[in-house]
């Protein structure tokens, strides 16, 4: 049994996804570097990963959000950037969670639309997209269909 000595103890890592017509991940990285102040930044194909002390990361995230609030999405990550246990080059393929990100990435423009509507104010819908069952066919309508067929 090998002993495990952890690295980056006490730090937090967050993903920053950008899905914007106004800003590429490269541009986001350049702007983030300007305000990073000791937080490690790794550029990725979808945005950034930022790692550092919790307060410093929270402060940087708040700045990054302000660049394009409706097109930037942030999420926690368990691993520090470049960790070989999760790196595609080491594993031979993408880790499973990456495919989940691919799935949600397709939906981000709907969320952006919702955030913009919220920002503009005005009346917001009361109902949520509900997972409830579709109503069944009314019994009288079923009888009509049976009578028509017969």
């Amino acid at each position: 049994m090998t002993e495990y000595v952890p690295g980056y103890v006490g730090t937090v890592t967050k993903y920053v996804f950008v899905e914007s017509p106004h800003m590429t991940p490269g541009e986001l990285a350049l702007r983030a570097y300007e305000v990073s102040f000791g937080v490690l930044i790794k550029e990725t194909c979808f945005g950034l990963q930022v790692t550092g002390e919790p307060e410093a990361v929270d402060s940087l995230i708040a700045e990054i959000r302000s660049f394009d609030p409706n097109h930037i999405f942030i999420k926690d990550r368990g691993f520090p950037p470049g960790d070989p246990r999760r790196c595609r080059a080491n594993l031979g393929g993408a880790r499973p969670g990456y495919l989940g990100h691919e799935r949600e990435f397709r939906l981000l423009h709907y969320i952006t639309h919702g955030l913009k509507a919220l920002e503009q104010g005005g009346e917001m819908p009361e109902t949520a997209p509900s997972p409830g069952k579709k109503p069944g066919l009314d019994i009288r309508r079923l009888q009509e269909l049976i009578d028509e067929e017969s």
């Binding site: 999420k75 999760r86 499973p96 939906l107 955030l115 917001m124 109902t127």
Partner: protein, 150 residues
């Protein structure tokens, strides 16, 4: 600020919206980060050792597969800590930490048994549903801040 369990626990969208609206999202990354930053026996990739499925016995019986119990060792404490939950019930392609349908069913059951306020919805498929989705989550989280239930 409330602690809100997000389902899928790997969701970028839910994690971002809960944090954006001023609350703390409880997702899989928090449990993984805790394990990655704790010294012990080397057990790549997630630092989940064979002891974790035994800890998962608190949430699932011994005849339940080890992968379910190992995942519940991560999620069980997060569910106990949660003060509310946002659930997307038809999340079809959530991989990795949410890649086991049996674990997902057990998580949903545990959340519904816990008595905490829960918002259930489905992913948006168009702009209008995107507006409804964001509005519903905002309203639910605002109610938490005001001390009421959703």
């Amino acid at each position: 600020m409330a602690k809100v369990f997000i389902y899928p626990a790997t969701s970028l969208i839910l994690s971002d919206l809960v944090a954006r609206f001023g609350h703390k999202p409880l997702g899989a990354a928090l449990g993984i980060r805790e394990r990655i930053q704790t010294a012990g026996i080397d057990s790549p990739p997630l630092q989940i050792t064979p002891e974790e499925p035994k800890r998962g016995l608190k949430y699932a019986a011994v005849e339940v597969p080890s992968g379910v119990r190992g995942r519940m060792a991560i999620y069980g404490p997060l569910i106990e800590e949660a003060e509310a939950a946002v659930i997307v019930t038809e999340a079809d392609l959530a991989f990795g930490c949410m890649g086991c349908a049996r674990t997902d069913e057990l998580i949903l059951f545990s959340l519904r048994q816990s008595g905490i306020p829960i918002l259930e919805l489905k992913y948006p498929t168009n702009d209008e549903e995107g507006v409804q989705f964001v509005a519903a989550i905002k309203k639910f989280l605002d109610n938490l801040s005001n001390g009421g239930e959703a």
